[in-house]
């Protein structure tokens, strides 16, 4: 569980996050949605420790991040998996080396055999058997995302962060990635936080949704509530695509 209390963050005098309060629950896919520039990525980077908030508290399982010692921060980072928007795979390394990387950094050399077995296990989990020796440039975008997922879960993390995990993918592959993330969340019993503005993802895996607008938490709920809400800002965002607009019109006509 990750709790965010009164979080403020700004750049060059402009306030991006304006007092966010929210709890990301364990064993659930927690989605952060909102338009471009709403502060989603800044919130994620603050939670990851890549940005330091000006004000507010971020608690990991009840303990404020600001009270973590250097060793505790190091231990925490071992419990975090991250899926980046572009995959962020190391392009000079093969698929296997990429997935092995977090294990190689934090385990003894003598555990190489066990590490290799673990890598095989997670690659099998994300349906990437047989691609071990390929370079990221030699595989498709969807496969790169799956390698990224494999690398994120190889250390058995407690927290999984995903920054627009299905951006740039075709709808079918995007659904596969969404489902995979949700399955892993339940299987590993982890706190998963996903940034997205893809409403298909919201429909698919939105177990808990936080809607950000101009750095403020404008709405919270789940996928069943978001399509029923009368909140103007949420309605504007959710039904901004033609497809969802037509669905809404059909709903209103009782079709």
């Amino acid at each position: 569980m990750i709790e965010v209390e009164n979080l403020h963050k700004g750049f060059d005098g402009e306030e991006i996050l304006k007092g966010i309060n929210y709890t990301f629950e364990k064993s659930k896919t927690n989605l952060i949605i909102g338009g471009s520039g709403s502060g989603k990525s800044v919130l994620l980077k603050c939670m990851l420790g890549l940005l330091t908030p000006e004000k507010g508290i971020i608690k990991y399982d009840g303990k404020p991040y600001s009270e973590f010692t250097e060793d505790e921060k190091k231990d925490l980072s071992k419990q975090i998996g991250m899926i980046f928007q572009g995959g962020a795979l190391f392009d000079s390394m093969t698929v296997e080396e990429n997935v092995m990387f977090p294990l190689r950094m934090f385990t003894h050399r003598k555990k190489k055999k066990q590490n290799l077995e673990r890598v095989k296990e997670v690659l099998k989990r994300v349906n990437l058997e047989g691609s071990e020796k390929k370079l990221p440039a030699e595989i498709s975008g969807g496969m790169q995302k799956r390698v990224s997922i494999a690398r994120a879960i190889v250390n058995r993390p407690k927290y999984l962060f995903c920054d627009e995990p299905n951006s740039g993918l075709d709808p079918k592959t995007a659904t596969v990635i969404d489902q995979l993330i949700q399955e892993i969340t339940h299987e590993y019993d982890i706190t998963t936080i996903i940034i997205t503005h893809d409403m298909n993802s919201v429909l698919e895996i939105g177990e808990k949704i936080a809607f950000l607008k101009d750095g403020v938490l404008a709405w919270k709920g789940d996928k069943s509530q978001i399509f029923k809400t009368d909140d103007e800002t949420v309605v504007d965002f959710v039904y901004s695509s033609n497809l969802f607009q037509k669905v809404r019109e059909a709903q209103q006509k009782g079709l």
Partner: protein, 245 residues
């Protein structure tokens, strides 16, 4: 103010590079890879340039020696002094600012724009140490490159002067040994070590702190070459003033 900010940021980067060290076995592999990329990979161009620079220095000296009172040994003497004191350490370092410097900036810059640096940080790895420290260690071997450049430069001068018929071999060798001051070698290698550090760290700074996309990676490489060259030239002046004047 921007310059002051950049200078401060550069020194903070250096501080960050030497703490929270990466695991030894991983670091060893990274250093070997950087040795291959930065040192071994530069040998070909350095050898080619050094040989021909040496040859041209000897040719120019020989062609401008019209006075019969000036001994022919001066050709070798002038070639030796210019190669050891300036051409090998400084000129080759400027060339390396283009070759090695651009490589360092673009490789770190590409990692930056594709969020690979963020990925390292999220995993709890000190990205400064992981990316820059192995380059600094690999560049400690840069003086070997310069030593080879010196040798090949003198050899090029010998080839041009002797095979070009400007001076007999024995006179060339005599000129090479004339008034040799060993401290000049010490001076050359002291500045080579400084240049090596500059070559590893200034391009790394430009790559690590660049913002933007692929186009900005190219711009950062150009800026890095300009600043690395400027700092090398200024350091060269300062070291020469301190050690030789």
């Amino acid at each position: 103010m921007n310059y002051l900010h950049s200078i401060g940021e550069y020194f903070l980067m250096l501080k960050g590079t030497f703490h929270r060290m990466t695991k030894g076995s991983v670091l060893r592999g990274l250093i070997l890879k950087e040795l291959d990329d930065l040192i071994i990979g530069s040998m070909g161009i350095v050898a080619f340039l050094s040989f021909f620079i040496g040859a041209v220095v000897a040719l120019q000296t020989a062609l401008n020696l019209n006075n019969p009172l000036i001994p022919k040994t001066l050709i070798a003497y002038a070639a030796r002094q210019s190669i050891i004191l300036e051409f090998a350490p400084t000129f080759i370092s400027i060339i390396m600012a283009g070759k090695v410097g651009s490589y360092i900036t673009s490789s770190i810059g590409s990692m930056n724009v594709t969020e690979q640096i963020d990925a390292l940080e999220v995993m709890g790895i000190n990205s400064l140490n992981y990316l820059i420290f192995p380059k600094i260690i690999a560049m400690l071997f840069y003086p070997f490159v310069i030593a080879i450049a010196m040798f090949l430069g003198v050899f090029g001068a010998y080839a041009a002067a002797v095979f070009g018929g400007f001076v007999p071999p024995d006179l060339f060798v005599q000129g090479l040994q004339e008034d040799f001051i060993p401290f000049h070698l010490v001076y050359a290698f002291i500045k080579t070590f400084l240049f090596a550090f500059i070559l590893a760290t200034i391009p790394a700074y430009h790559g690590y702190y660049m913002k933007g996309g692929a186009l900005e990676v190219g711009e950062a490489s150009t800026t890095s070459f300009v600043w690395t060259s400027v700092v090398i030239i200024i350091t060269n002046y300062a070291v020469t003033q301190l050690l030789l004047s």
